[in-house]
Amino acid sequence: MFKSIFDQYEWNEVKAGIYAKTARDVEQALHNQRRSLEDFAALISPAAAPYLAEMAAMSQALTRQRFGNTMQLYIPMYLSNECQNICTYCGFSLDNKIRRKTLSPAEMLLETAAIKEMGFEHVLLVTGEANQLVSTDYFKKTLQLLRPHFANISMEVQPMDEQDYRELAELGLHAVLVYQETYHQDDYKKHHPKGRKSNFDYRLETPDRLGRAGIHKMGLGVLIGLEDWRTDSFFTALHLAYLEKKYWQTKYSISFPRLRPFSGGLTPKVVMNDRELVQLICAYRLFNQEVELSISTREEEKFRNNIVNLGITAMSAASKTNPGGYVVDQQSLEQFEISDDRSAAAIADMLKKQGFEPVWKDWDPAFSGEIKKVVG
């Protein structure tokens, strides 16, 4: 389990190590053909800032070689904003007095129709954590309902047990995104004082449970703004490297959510500027040519238009972060404010103008077990 590796590292030592990196370390990292975790640490360090142009060019070339001139598109569908956790940074937090909403099957189909109308085939289902109301059983029924409508279904919901994941995968669940939020244990407890999410270790070992359950893809990341992003990103890369060797049949994706304002919310402890986010994205690409790098509508239009050239391989578009946000209940409360509210067609057009083919479909339900009747 990753816990045994994680415990060998001490946050302050890792942090000091990153901040002690020199220009010489960065140059060595850029020069290496295969880059180690220490190289990654150099590339995310302050010492790498003057090398950003070089990193960007290398990141672009590596990404094009592996992923070609294509960009995967997906959209989130928020199913519920019920939540029994208190998370200091989240709009769905239990102590945030908002109207709660969980979509019924009929409402899901209305949202689905609106999403399909925009052209999407890959959907990310999102909820808070309300284990009674929005339970494994709820997810099973949801997958059975939605599977015929989408080529690819991912989930970003509460962490579950291995057996739950196994059963959901059998029903066609393709990917699970579970962000550690922060690898800083004390800070994690501070930001998650109440609810099942307050259990740091259970969350930390979620990717292991997903790997054992044989999920096709998992998404990792930290919420940027809670703690020193460089140190948190080092731990994410450590986690990734461990998982890739252990669960070698699983595909991995990394996201870089920067804390966004929400009604009644927390001011970030650490602010990461655009230049630093570009540095982080390029560093991931130089560290790992094959990992998917994803960017959401948390980021602004101009940034998104430019970042597609620098290592990103998947992006969401036209997102609503409230349950029913597309048609059913457009006024329900958002998890966070989005920054790029362009339509899916506008994003596709932007990509085409920059020489990318927008990819709406890159999976088929048939690959995850039988769904359609086959003749012959």
């Binding site: 094009r64 070689q65 592996r66 992923f67 070609g68 001139n69 294509t70 085939e121 080529a151 893809k217 890739e244 070698w248 049949q249 699983t250 595909k251 094959e290 085409k352 020489g355 990318f356 083919e357 990819v359 479909k361 890159d362 999976w363 088929d364 048939a366 690959f367 039988e370 359609k372 086959v374 003749v375 012959g376």
Partner: protein
Amino acid sequence: MEPLIIAGREFYSRLFTGTGKFSSPEVMESALLASGSELVTVALKRVEMDNKADDMLRHLSHSRMHLLPNTSGVRTAKEAVYAAQLAREALETNWIKLEIHPDPRYLMPDPVETLLAAEELVKLGFVVLPYVHADPVLCKRLEDVGTAAVMPLGAPIGSNKGLKTFDFLEIIIAQSNIPVIVDAGIGSPSHAAQAMEMGASAVLVNTAIAVARNPVQMAAAFKAGVEAGRMAYEAGLPVSSQHAVASSPLIAFLDEA
């Protein structure tokens, strides 16, 4: 040049191509036309099988261009067989490029699952072209179960590194009774020419064309490279030698009186 015959179908181009990684369906179409390719592989997972007006398929609709659906994305023999059946139904062809790479990072083909799936698919009446490591024994085992060709890799897929498996490809070509198509790793027309000169029946190229600055021109370059290599092979390459052949003192005694 001699046509290549696979499962009774004649090919006048020995350059097979892929359809991934292009910047648009229009660029893909122009590049594939410039390549002269008559066999074009399509990832089933990218195709909207219910949609007759699928954007990719629409741009591949040319009389000389045959579709070769592939099973990219499957992890087991069972999934591959199922995907192949769907492909046969949706694309109306019994040709299948069998790709089982359970490792999504390096996309290395699984020899065990591939052999199992190949056997099953042949029984189901498919023309099976399996993507495999440059493993001479595996290639013979696939030939034994009835695949129409073998497609050993030159280097990791998408790596553009050329024929890193050269020595094993030589053995496979020497041993094979079915066409050998070098797939994956071919990064430049000279790599393609090298494969053809050594006697490969055909090559399959995708990344090197799709991500070139000018994919159409690169496709034409590969066409020329493949033709040059094949022509040279058919013409009979002179044997190259590391050292000059002179009268040797080792056998001079034979001429002594």
